[in-house]
């Protein structure tokens, strides 16, 4: 067992997959000698060479489209989009092509590719280096959408993504690249794409979150325990698509109260689907309103520091919302 940062776990997953399977290659902007702007691919160029760690032209749709073509020719591309905010030009290739390929070819062609993209705010990145875009993609059947919050899951889920026969969007909470540290087992392991994970057991209120917010929720759970004795269960959603409806519901059956936290814009955010699952399948267990805590409905995230701080859900805001709900 080793303690490492989130980004080290991501790099280690790629390193191991590159070593395991010669069909695996990485392409994206500045992934080569530079090692990526966040250093996710640092050292891999030296180890695997320019034919496997490939600097792409500055054109996101081609990064994805080359990946699609290569994947259909039985390679295993890992495509890096430098910031999730830059993924929009590739939208057509992701949603109309990669996502629909298996279905539209009646299950004959499939696209075993991974798209990595750092996402999320709170890092002074302003409108175009802070976006949370998971809801766009979780509305698209055929994609798998994964957001890890711990080094353990980051490594295990990324290895599963590379091996998955479907296109997997792997969003990385960039604020946590170096802030989040955790234990990672020695040796080979993977984390299954699909089930949610209960990271903190409790009985009064369930809090659902993913990425950076999953950490904030753990902090908030401690705060409300110490100040008020409220027992919070934290569910790290981690696989957003396909939706683990059963896993989401299980915790709610215990507590009857749900708070959903995400840093994306409030309206039509991913939390709306969780709320719908609970309202529909969990009606008989409901003991309070299903609440969402999310970013306001303005483009995220404004640059000026105090505005950014107010935009983002924080452990304090989450704790307040938990208390409110517990008292209901």
């Amino acid at each position: 067992m080793r303690n490492m940062t989130l980004i080290d776990a991501i790099r280690e997953a790629m390193d191991e997959e590159l070593a395991r399977d010669e069909r695996v290659f990485i392409t994206g902007e500045d992934v080569g000698q530079r090692g990526g702007v966040f250093r996710a691919t640092l050292g891999l160029f030296d180890k695997y060479g320019p034919t496997r760690i490939i600097d792409s032209p500055l054109a996101e749709l081609s990064i994805v489209a080359i990946g699609i073509g290569a994947a259909m020719a039985d390679l295993r591309p890992i495509c890096e989009i430098q910031f999730a905010d830059f993924i929009h030009p590739a939208m057509n290739q992701i949603m109309n092509e990669a996502a629909k390929m298996y279905y539209r070819s009646n299950g004959t062609w499939n696209v075993p590719m991974t798209i990595r993209a750092p996402y999320g705010g709170g890092i002074g990145g302003a409108l175009y280096h802070s976006q949370s875009l998971e809801a766009y993609f979780t509305h698209c059947p055929g994609l798998k959408v994964v957001i890890p919050s711990t080094p353990h899951d980051a490594k295990g889920l990324l290895k599963s993504a590379v091996r998955d026969p479907n296109p997997v969007l792997y969003f990385e909470p960039k604020k946590g690249y170096r802030a989040i540290k955790g234990d990672v087992p020695d040796g080979e392991y993977t984390v299954e794409i699909g089930p949610v994970n209960v990271t903190h057991a409790g009985t009064d209120v369930t809090v659902y979150a993913y990425g950076m917010m999953a950490h904030y929720c753990l902090q908030a759970a401690d705060m409300v325990k110490q100040q008020g004795g409220i027992s919070t269960e934290v569910v790290d959603v981690r696989t957003l698509l396909p939706v683990d409806r059963e896993g989401i519901l299980n915790s709610f059956k215990k507590t009857g109260k749900a708070l959903i936290v995400y840093e994306d814009n409030f309206t039509m955010g991913y939390g709306a689907e969780i709320a719908a699952v609970l309202a529909d399948d969990g009606f008989e267990y409901m003991d309070g309103p299903i609440r969402r805590l999310a970013g306001p409905d303005v483009p995220g995230v404004p640059f000026s520091h105090p505005v950014q701080e107010e935009f983002m859900p924080s452990p304090q805001k989450i704790a307040d919302a938990i208390r409110d709900l517990a008292a209901y």
Binding site: A65, A73, P141, P165
Partner: protein, 357 residues
């Protein structure tokens, strides 16, 4: 309306002064003629079925048979990757797609080979023939085809594929119309092909109109092939209604791709003598006179004349092929009409969108 009359284009001759098509056997020439004829008759039947109200939609490849069949015969059929577009009926037939498969797609019946009846007709796919699946937004296939070519190059570089092994794909051919070259997707795909010198052939079937918008409203150059220079790719113009000329340039591009000498952009100048699709009325954007001028250059009658002159075919043989085509089309249509519709439930099951782990 500007008149877009056909122009004469000089035939392509290789550096050694030869034409690759000179070495085609009489049997091969007959096969090429047959593919053009079969495609045309199937296409015509599709129009009839639409006008009878028996199918919802047809998008035609009529008039494009020469460049498609010429291209198909130049590659390793069923092995090299083909990432087609919706007009490529003659191309996919040449590669091995069946008339019955086409008819099933018109009717959206069970067993439809491309998509199981999920996509519109003429959205071809056949993994067993290395025909890739394509969508309706245009030019999306181009950067993917560059990805296929990239994979070939990658596999050869990493010893995953023997460059001489002709059971493996050694090039990726993709097709599109001239209008689609306005898309960013086309540029980005061409750019990769140029940067990495990929075994890639982009066949632009320039029929002058993107639905109703003519060439000069699409780009400020008179030849799409001119654009290749910007990507460091060789661009060639060919008479798209002359099947042997099309075969010549394709054979040249193929040899280049197999040898690892990079990508080629081929612009086949052709014409669509029918409306864009079964829903279109082309009288609103072009003159009948123009259409009539182009019909005189019809690729099938032109090739027929050549084959009669060369005594590769006789009039009797041509008549026999006509009868055969009618019979093949009839049989295909009957089979498709007799086929059931696909089951609904499996097609609406969310699990059907994911490949199993």
């Amino acid at each position: 309306m500007t008149n877009h009359a056909p122009a004469d284009i000089t035939a392509f001759v290789t550096a050694s002064g030869t034409r690759p098509s000179d070495s085609l056997s009489a049997d091969t020439l007959c096969d090429m003629y047959w593919m053009m004829l079969l495609s045309r008759r199937l296409d015509e039947r599709a129009w009839i079925l639409h006008r009878q109200g028996r199918i919802a939609f047809h998008i035609s490849g009529m008039g494009h048979e020469a460049c498609q069949v010429g291209a198909g015969f130049a590659i390793n059929r069923g092995v090299d990757y083909v990432h087609p577009y919706y007009r490529d009926l003659a191309l996919v037939l040449t590669v091995g797609f069946t008339p019955e498969g086409f008819m099933l797609s018109l009717l959206g019946k069970a067993g439809e080979p491309s998509s199981g009846g999920r996509q519109m007709p003429s959205h071809f796919s056949a993994k067993w023939l290395n025909i890739l699946s394509h969508s309706s937004p245009v030019a999306t296939q181009v950067p993917q085809a560059a990805g296929l070519a990239f994979a070939i190059q990658y596999k050869i570089a990493h010893g995953l594929q023997d460059p001489q092994d002709d059971t493996q794909p050694r090039l990726a051919l993709t097709c599109l119309g001239e209008g689609s070259t306005s898309q960013g997707e086309w540029h980005e795909g061409m750019n990769w092909a140029g940067v990495h010198k990929l075994p890639f052939i982009c066949l632009v079937q320039n029929n002058i109109y993107a639905i109703s918008v003519p060439m000069e409203r699409q780009m400020a150059v008179s030849d799409v092939a001119d654009r290749a220079a910007a990507y460091g790719v060789e661009g060639l113009v060919v008479d798209g209604n002359d099947i042997l000329a099309c075969y010549d340039v394709m054979a040249y591009a193929r040899d280049k791709a197999y040898a690892g000498d990079g990508a080629t952009l081929i612009e086949a100048k052709t014409y669509r003598p029918v409306p864009h699709s079964s829903d279109d009325d082309d009288r609103s954007y072009r003159t009948r006179d123009e259409v009539e001028q182009w019909k005189k250059k019809d690729p099938i009658s032109r090739f027929q004349k050549v084959l009669l002159e060369r005594e590769v075919l006789t009039q009797n043989a041509i008549n026999d092929l006509e009868a055969k085509a009618k019979s093949v089309v009839d049989t295909a249509q009957r089979a498709a009409e007799d086929a059931p519709y696909p089951e609904v439930e499996p097609n609406l099951d969310p699990r059907s969108v994911y490949a199993p782990n």
